[in-house]
Symmetry: C2
Subunit: 244 residues, 2 copies
């Protein structure tokens, strides 16, 4: 089986750590990456601090094929992601001529320094015009710098998603009426025979239909089907409620 | 101002990274910790892998006053948090006599090895009976090991929360009708005068009432009120929609 493309997500936001805002960008990106076959390996939420951003981005950029940042892009004091990514890479922050020109055209002679800050990028940034959004997406090395505002984050992820398409994960779901303790041995037995199976076991409380949801995944559909047959064979009799 | 108690949260769950399940435990814990004055410094979501869990827990346990783990506790193959925490601390996993006794009493002579796995803890674990829940909460060193099932996670957090109570954060919110670019300079000016203010600026798209929500926080209520007065003084005339 081919190695999956890997990704790490760095979420920059005091508002999430302090419980003021719920992070809806992470689950959105997680689903989108899974849909195109990318394996998201880490989600890290950190405060708005340049050194912390730099350390996280440096590590993730060296470790994963793709890095995404969410938040900290904008004109105010707490928008430190561009500076943090620059420090991670040992580069300068520059005012991008194409963006500056566009901002000056848009705001005409009333343009302010705060507005022009939106043209600041890490030196070497490529502007991605995928999806023809109002503002391009920033790519520097393997780092996609995305804004935290959920509507814009989502538009940008959808716009660039096809860049990452690789072999998809195939998924089968089995719902069982037994407790996890009653099926744990069956899961171990299945994994002993199919060690590359991605097997998840998720108990659900107070559900009238089932007690555990089992997810089986692989990029190799034949392997997946064989593993599924094995699991169904070793589960206790009559344990399965239904399959998806 | 007194130093805040700090915390780190490690979420163990392939299901979250693969976008199958939304992590509702992190925002819940973030809010609860904030309410008792604890500063949550990191949220890290990692896969169900012992070495990865061990590395994350080791780092966070050394760095923050409190560490919380969510998920990976249970009887199945993907429940590796206890083993991971044990490895982080260089300790053994032991079967806790008090828990084993309770499980044997509950399941009587039909008890299975999978059920008894629920009695496995890191050597040195303290069982917390706060809140008189059905099952105690595990504390080892500064690490609170919490299950991933949201209902149980929440019950346990609420049960132990008062242990962490410290000086609260005081919060003021100012809604403004200007774009961030129009108020950025005012925010810098406020912070220059009140460098210890926790000041957040959160633009909201397509809201008929306001464009940016500003949050001001401090543990020192007088400092907070002075900083708020300064901000209101330096914001552009007529920028404020309302305050909370």
């Amino acid at each position: 089986m081919a190695r999956s493309t890997t990704a790490g997500l760095v979420v920059i936001g005091n508002e999430i750590l302090s419980g003021k805002v719920e992070d809806t960008n992470s689950p959105f990106l997680a689903k989108q990456l899974r849909a195109v076959g990318v394996s998201l390996e880490r989600i890290l939420v950190i405060p708005d601090e340049i050194e912390v951003i730099a350390a996280a981005v440096r590590e993730y950029s060296a470790t994963y094929d793709l890095v995404f940042t969410s938040g900290g892009v904008g004109p105010t004091h707490d928008d430190l992601t561009i500076a943090g990514v620059a420090r991670a890479l040992g580069r300068e922050v520059i005012r991008h001529p194409e963006l500056e020109k566009a901002l000056r055209a848009f705001f005409s002679d009333r343009v302010t320094e705060a507005q022009l800050r939106l043209a600041d990028v890490v030196d070497g940034t490529e502007l991605l015009h995928d999806g023809n959004l109002r503002f391009p997406t920033f790519l520097v090395n393997n780092i996609y710098v995305l804004p935290g505002i959920p509507e814009i984050f989502r538009d940008k992820v959808v716009a660039i998603r096809d860049r990452f398409t690789t072999d998809p994960f195939h998924l089968r779901i089995v719902y069982v009426r037994e407790q996890e303790t009653a099926i744990a041995a069956s899961l171990y037995e299945t994994l002993a025979a199919f060690p590359n199976l991605l097997l998840g076991s998720y108990p659900k409380l107070n559900n009238p239909e089932y007690k555990v949801r089992l997810t089986l995944e692989s990029k190799d559909v034949d392997y997946l089907e064989s593993a599924l047959r094995k699991l169904l064979e070793v589960l206790p009799p009559n344990a399965v409620v239904r399959q998806e």
